[in-house]
């Protein structure tokens, strides 16, 4: 520090204290996950806690082998398809809704709260309500429609808030100019609006994908006969916990992190281009 006045020293100490707190917070949030990562490489005779008895891929091989808990590959596939569909619908709906909210219309307040209540209603209530409703209608729930339905209810508010923020900073004069030059609505949207809001749409999609991929509570009663990945993970919890579960957890977490990384990269590229 150039000027070491008491005031500067005090500020520095405060900042250092907060930084230490931030580091402790990260350890608290990430620490257990790292313990799990490490233990997934436990030796064949090792258990679910430290110490490590050797170092091996034994549990990882067990995970990919045929003797694994349920049919993991199939449930992973279902989770991925579901997450991709939820991502597309979330991006589409939140863009459309946010475009509608740029204007004043009757019932906009009610619709706003309706979208937001998707955040507030616990998954167990939606699961129970929809499952018993479908039962009464003589339909059996399945992951590709009933789970999809409540997943979108959960992810839509996040995407919607992102798109609202995008349109808050949006310069409507660009669209006016295109309209004055005789462009019709579709052309204005395709040539002017869309390129500017694409980064926002990607961010809304990120919420759709990751939140759906990991969702458990809202899928509990609504997946029907075929499990998604979180349901399989939950099912394996009722058996004796083995390091295989840690390998599965590590793989799933790494996949989530990769997806977040991919989304952030796409977002950054599109954001730079839209400037």
């Amino acid at each position: 520090m150039a000027r070491s006045t008491p005031e500067h020293r005090r500020k520095f100490r405060v900042k250092a204290g907060f930084s230490v707190y931030y580091a402790i917070f990260l350890i608290f949030v990430y620490g257990p996950m790292f313990a799990m990562f490490t233990l997934s490489f436990q030796g064949p005779r090792g258990g679910v806690t430290f110490p490590m008895r050797g170092l091996s891929f034994f549990w990882w091989e067990k995970l990919t082998g045929p003797s694994a808990v349920g049919d993991l590959k199939a449930s992973l596939g279902r989770s991925l398809i579901l997450a991709i569909v939820v991502m597309i619908i979330t991006a589409l709906f939140s863009t459309m809704l946010a475009m509608a909210f740029r204007k004043r219309f009757r019932g906009s307040g009610a619709l706003f709260y309706a979208v937001m209540s998707g955040l507030m209603v616990p998954g167990v209530l939606l699961s129970l309500g929809l499952a018993s409703m479908l039962r009464q209608l003589g339909m059996s729930p399945a992951w590709w429609y009933s789970a999809l339905g409540v997943h979108v209810v959960w992810t839509l508010p996040f995407g919607f808030l992102v798109m609202m923020a995008v349109f808050n900073r949006f310069d409507a004069r660009l669209e006016e100019a295109a309209r004055d030059m005789g462009a019709d609505e579709w052309t204005v949207f395709k040539e002017v609006t869309l390129p500017l809001i694409t980064p926002g749409i990607v961010a809304a999609g990120l919420f759709g994908f990751t939140l759906s991929y990991d969702e458990f509570a809202r899928t509990t009663l609504l997946a029907g006969a075929n499990n998604t990945l979180p349901l399989d993970i939950n099912a394996s919890l009722t058996q004796r916990v083995q390091p295989t579960l840690f390998a599965l957890g590590t793989a799933s977490t790494i996949f989530s992190l990769l997806m977040i990384g991919v989304f952030i990269v796409i977002y950054t590229i599109l954001y730079r281009r839209s400037r």
Binding site: F18, Y21, Y22, F25, L26, F28, V29, Y30, P32, M33, A35, M36, L39, V48, T49, F50, F93, M96, L97, M99, A100, K103, F105, L111, A114, V115, S117, G118, M120, V121, P122, V124, L125, L126, L128, G129, L130, A131, S132, M133, Q136, G149, V150, V152, V153, E185, F189, Y213, D214, F216, A217, T220, P230, I233, L237, F246, G249, T253, S256, I260
Partner: protein, 332 residues
Amino acid sequence: MTTVESYAKITHVEAAPRGLIGGAPIVLDETKRKYRREPGFPVPILIAPATAWLIVFLFLPLISIFIFSFWKTTGHGMSPAFTLEHYRDFFITEGFFDPNKPEFLTPSVFIRTLWTTFRFTITVMAICLILAYPLAYFLSMQVEDFKWQLTLFLLAMVPFWTSYLIRAVAWLPMLGRHGLINEFLVGIGVIDEPVSFFLYSEFSYTMALVQLYVVLAVGPIFFSLAKIDRTLLEAARDMGATPFQIFREIIAPLSLPGVAIGMIFVFVMIMGEFATAVVVYGGKTSTTGTVILNYYAIANYPFAAVNAFMLMLAMMIGVVIILRLVDIRKEL
């Protein structure tokens, strides 16, 4: 007479014999201009799909919970009726009114479960706030570079996008009898031998829930702190306010809406919690969430619905109390 006035006069005169020239009025009707289409796609088309989706997958399920709570059970399902017996079972245990029974004036197990869930939620929520506020304060007030701010914020928020079941599972190697915390405490000599109350106890349950949901509180508090006008703080400093005074008089009141939103998030999430208890509490406690699923599993749908409805009611009361304490409308 100016040109415009004469023009208007001529148009008016020529417009008068309506119907003679093809029936079209020549002057622009004022009312017509008011209803001219706004630019952009029509609103009904934009909102129709999402609205229909919300009706089918959000409102109908919630309404059916309310309706089904009055139906009667048939052993393997339910049939339409209007009965309050499930509500009676929820509130009153046998022997509630009988002074000779041990259950005299003892609340039913379902009320006690809901109360435990509520009490526990409040505890975890308070811990989450205490942990989240300094973090959000650090990120928004102490980190000056925007890029760093965003990076550190994202780093703290990333766990929100990973599976919460797996994050709950990850506590097992930390808290067990041979877990890291025990090893650490024995290592530094705080305890002589490993203690077992860390796992499958209220302690592990609290730790896991706080870790799972604390990021939900960080986000809103961070945003409301970041929005505070820095010139206000400058002005207060120039007038000689101490850091503590600045915090108490400016920062704390202005960040209250964010705190309230964070509280609501954490509150509703933990009230509906049911999976974590199984993982780190060994299923030794029940939340109203687990009660609902248990009654669904034995096909007593109306009673599951009653529990769900009471849970919804408790949540609404909680949210209303939070909204009474803090006005969040400025934030929306």
